[in-house]
Amino acid sequence: MHELAVCQALIEQVERVARQNDARRVVSIVITVGPLSGVEPQLLEHAYPLAAAGTIAEHASLVIETVPVRVRCRTCAAETDAASNRLVCGACSDWQVDVIGGEEMILKRVEVETMASAVH
C-alpha cells in the first residue's frame, strides 16, 4: 500500500506550512480525497500516525473529506455522479464523459498554534 508514502508527503507539506507560519504545533489537517485518486481514506487514517510520529504534526487530527466522482456528459452536458468503474452519464447513459471531480488528493487546510502568545 502506498498510503504511508502519501502520508509522508502530506507531513512534509504540513511541516512546510507550519514553518512558514511560525507554528509551534499543528492542531488539525484537512485533506480532500476522491475515489479516482488511488488512495483509500481508511488506509490513510491508519498510516497517518506512523508518518506524523515525532513531527510537529504528531498530535494533529486528520480530517479526510471525501468527494464523489463527477462527470460532465459530452452529449447532453449534464453533470452527474458516477461510479469509479462505470464512468457514464447519469442522465443519458452515454460513456463519452469528462471527469470533473473525484481525482483530488489535496491538502486543503491546516490549523496551527502559532508561537505568538495571545490572551484568549
Binding site: M1, H2, A5, V6, A9, L10, E12, Q13, E15, V17, A18, R19, N21, A23, R24, R25, V27, I31, T32, L36, S37, G38, V39, G54, T55, I56, E58, V71, S84, N85, R86, L87, V88, W95, V97, V99, I100, G101, E103, E104, M105, I106, L107, K108, R109, V110, E111, V112, E113, T114, M115, A116, S117, A118, H120
Partner: protein, 275 residues
C-alpha cells in the same frame, strides 16, 4: 544537492522534527493551503521530464500486475528495434536484479531499482536511477514499474506516456476492478493473446468494453510478445511516439500522460489558495 547533474534535487533529505516549546499558550490560526499532497514528487517528476526532453528521448512508464509480461515485452521489443533505436531501461522491483539482467542480456543498459517493500516507483527513485544511465543519444527510455495495479498509478515519474498491460490469464474485467490504473493509460496492451485458445473465459470484446466504461479513450492493441500483427502494431506505435517526441523536443515542448497522476489533484473547483 544532486551531485551528478548539479540540480537541486537528490535523495530526499531527512528533516528534524520541529520542537514545540512547552508552557506558552499560542494563538490558533487556520491556513487555507489547497496544494497537491504529492506536490514534491510532482516537482521532481517535472525535473526528470526536463532531462528527458533535453535529450529528445521518449520516456514510457510500463504498468501492470506482476507477471503480465512487461519484461518479456521489453525483451522482444529490444530485439526488434534495438538495431535502429537506442534504448535503455529502468527496472523497478521489490527485490532481485533478475529483470535488469534479462534486459542487459539483450544488449541494452538497464538500471535496477530495488524498492525494498515499496509497492511503486516515485520520481526521486527514477531521478537517482537515471543518473546511472547515459541519456545522450538515447531514443527511448522504458521505466518498468513495480508489478501492481494500484499504487504506481498515483505517482508521476516524469514519463511522457503510460502504457498499461492486461494479460489474458488475468481476466477481462481487470479495468473495472482497477479503474484508477487503467484510466491512467495512454495505450492499453492486451498481452499473451497466444493463450486465448486455452483461456476461453477471456473475451477481448469484454476487456475493451470494460476499458470504455472507465472512460478510457485511448488505443488498445492485442498482442503476444512472440510476434505477429499486434506486436507489429505496438512497434509502429513506438516509432510514431519516438518521432513525435523528437519533434516536440525540437520545438521546446513537452507532453504529460493523458491522465496526469498529479494535475488532477490540485484543481479543487471554485476554491482559491489564501488565508
Amino acid at each position: 544537492m544532486c551531485r551528478d547533474c548539479g540540480c537541486s534535487l537528490g535523495p530526499s533529505a531527512t528533516r528534524a522534527p520541529l520542537a514545540a516549546p512547552a508552557g506558552v499558550a499560542g494563538r490558533l490560526e487556520t491556513i487555507e493551503v489547497i496544494t497537491a499532497i504529492l506536490g514534491e514528487n510532482d516537482r521532481v517528476a517535472a525535473h526528470n521530464r526536463e532531462h528527458f526532453d533535453g535529450h529528445g528521448l521518449l520516456a514510457l512508464n510500463l504498468m501492470s500486475s506482476p507477471g503480465a509480461g512487461k519484461t518479456a515485452l521489453l525483451e522482444a521489443t529490444i530485439r526488434s528495434l534495438g538495431d535502429r533505436l537506442k534504448i535503455a531501461v529502468v527496472e523497478g522491483d521489490l527485490a532481485t536484479e533478475n529483470d535488469a539482467d534479462r534486459i542487459r542480456a539483450c544488449g541494452v543498459p538497464a538500471v535496477q531499482i530495488s524498492t525494498g517493500n515499496a509497492c511503486h516507483l516515485d520520481a526521486t527513485m527514477v531521478h537517482d536511477a537515471v543518473h546511472d544511465l547515459t541519456l545522450a543519444g538515447l531514443d527511448l527510455l522504458f521505466i518498468e514499474n513495480v508489478g501492481n495495479l494500484v499504487c504506481p498509478a498515483s505517482f508521476d515519474l516524469g514519463q511522457h506516456r503510460n502504457v498499461t498491460l492486461l494479460s489474458v490469464p488475468e481476466g477481462d474485467d481487470k479495468p473495472a476492478k482497477y479503474p484508477v490504473m487503467f484510466r491512467a493509460a495512454d495505450l492499453s496492451l492486451i498481452t499473451k493473446t497466444d493463450l486465448l485458445p486455452y483461456i476461453t473465459e477471456f473475451s477481448t470484446e469484454r476487456a475493451r468494453a470494460s476499458l470504455r466504461q472507465i472512460g478510457y479513450g485511448g488505443e488498445t492493441i492485442e498482442l503476444t510478445s512472440r510476434g505477429g500483427e499486434g506486436f507489429e502494431a505496438w512497434l509502429a506505435w513506438l516509432d510514431r511516439e519516438v518521432a513525435a517526441q523528437r519533434q516536440r523536443a525540437r520545438r521546446g515542448e513537452t507532453l504529460r500522460p493523458q491522465v496526469q497522476p498529479e494535475g488532477a489533484h490540485a484543481h479543487a473547483a471554485g476554491e482559491r489558495p489564501g488565508r
